[in-house]
Symmetry: C2
Subunit: 249 residues, 2 copies
Amino acid sequence: MSRPPHAAEHEALAAEHEALAAEHEVLAAEHEVLAAVLHVREGSLHVLLWQRALGPDRGRWALPGGRLGEAESLDASIRRQLAEKVDVRELSHLEQLESRGEPARMPGARVVATAYLGLVPGDARPQLPTDTRWHPIDELPEMAFDHAAVVEAARQRLRSKLSYTNLGFALVPPVFTLSELAGYYRAALGHDVDGTNLQRILVRREQIEPTGERLPSGPGGGRPAALFRFRVRALQVTDEFAVLHPPRP
Amino acid sequence: MSRPPHAAEHEALAAEHEALAAEHEVLAAEHEVLAAVLHVREGSLHVLLWQRALGPDRGRWALPGGRLGEAESLDASIRRQLAEKVDVRELSHLEQLESRGEPARMPGARVVATAYLGLVPGDARPQLPTDTRWHPIDELPEMAFDHAAVVEAARQRLRSKLSYTNLGFALVPPVFTLSELAGYYRAALGHDVDGTNLQRILVRREQIEPTGERLPSGPGGGRPAALFRFRVRALQVTDEFAVLHPPRP
DNA sequence: TCGGGTTTCCGCCTACTAGTCGATAACTGC
DNA sequence: GCAGTTATCGACTAGTAGGCGGAAACCCGA
């Protein structure tokens, strides 16, 4: 059983909270939403971060997010908050990840956070505010609060869902070649992926289908690649699990 | 390639966002924690519910839970709340499930809820308060608020985690026969489970091991059953997924 | 137009796993 | 000892992922 805090303690906390809220031009709130928006670019997985210019942890990099509004659902709120940093119409997927409520996760105020995983297709190049950038997920900068842990959770979630859902649709452009597809999976999974095998698995699961068209060959020649697309561009769970393993030694 | 959004478009977006933020006066939403505690008894999966005697939805059945304390983490809070309904020392597993924040999920106050999945081993018979009972998960009574959805999420989580983790340890007594083990899995998964196959899978994964002892035969005779135990009684993720399928037709 | 270089695609092979089933072992009770 | 019962073990089957080599389809230079 946890004891109720002393009144004095409580008031001090409330005062500090007020100050912080004033600084941010927002009233006191206890709940925030965050999103780790992931995106494959230049062959590796990136995450969307913005650099804090004010408040605690200024200078560090943070996930997009903010306080929950009065009449907002969690989903609606994260969409609204994300709109500040990126064109939400570019988002191909969004799902809830986890909530964190350690009392000391942020200095000053007590804030419970609900984190989301967001995905942006590989061909999208949304315009970003000046304080916001894509960071390679393997070289994260100094992160604010507990946001690094959220990024790690997002990466894990993506990795496993690629194995037993059609979540790949959210990583790739509407139409793609098999080599490109393998490249996206390689970046997201963090290990090598055999194109032949990937094709067989996804075709068998009826996740992807050929469009019938083919891309012209590159400058060096080579057989022109056939184009594919995902049949369904919304999350579906495969009845049979199938893990994409790293290659055998 | 997607075209970059026009600058004007971007500004319009930002303006819209300002308006939205102003409209959504931020308020201190209350936060509660809930747990769907599952338990296999008499061959079927049950969930722990208590009947509301006061307030909204009185008479309906609810999950254990309550408001988050000032200096409590979410995990600490759900443990404290659960202690009101069941001896928490009987809990073999507890993990976070999902958070719900629809503004109208409870009448009156705005309450964001973080739900947990709890498990109690099959041999435990914890004492319960008079308002609290185990309910078969297939015959839920009239449920309060959105608690029925939470129960469904918990069941799904259990089902899938049995396939790619050692979560079975949390369902069974410290020591068990293979028939008993198959019975627990059958109840939790909701479909038939072949004991031979289950044994091979779990032994191969090094999840279970024979204790060397054997149970005396029952009244009708029969070969005495060997006893097994889980090697590790804490959650571990199997590197290779392996789904326990329903039997083939 | 022919041949070398390049990339993609396709079919075959292998290893391994889950699911099934029947035979055998180890008991009880008559 | 024999019939009945339950548990255990081993062998068989079907299906899947991973890997590899060769054929296909293109470019380009001679």
